[in-house]
Amino acid sequence: MSMRLRLTAEVREAIREHGARGYPNEVCGALLGSEASDGEFREVTALVPLENRREDSARNRFSLTADDVRRAERAAAEKKLELVGWYHTHPDHPARPSEFDREHAWPWYSYIILGVAEREPGEMTSWRLADDRSGYAAESIEVA
């Protein structure tokens, strides 16, 4: 499998802008878009920026409630899109999934991570969890 995620330029910029604005805290949101029938190619055409619910350690953790997830699913349905994944930032950390990320992930979703160093958005990566939860496969990002 070689998985690809295409972002519109507006989506990419909106994630970068959200990450910079939220620094030094982690920010997060939902990725809305559509998936090709082979399951390997996805396009993200809209975002739902969401509020990081963690108040205790928002610099290195984020969380969204089940209600946030249901709201994002409804937003996707209204736009006739699918909720295909999530984005979050790693302030002053590399854009690589952590062990904590892995424990809290499901397969299928695309997980975008944006590194933000001293308020400057940096590397953006995307990941999918393996079927057996053992690790992640990188998904290449294209900007339309």
Partner: protein, 95 residues
Amino acid sequence: MMTVKVMIPTPLRAYAGKQDHVDVAAETVGQALNSLILQHGELRRHLYQDDGRLRSFVNVYVNDDDIRYLQKEATPVKNGDTVSIVPSIAGGAGA
């Protein structure tokens, strides 16, 4: 036994024969989920930890009610109820 509909979230449909729901016979939420993973064993690791408890980010609803505020997995279900599985999303840079 009551027949309840367990809704399968999109990310997990690949492990449930691509179905968006599975009908199961059960009297409690716990029995409904057990019946689901007996039919579709690959779902287990994405819903449960190794010690058999539901993963902390996996939320279960009967109709619109979170079972944490009912009787958790012992929550009774009745004919025609819908059980939904909704993740909460968490992560972070670690250390």
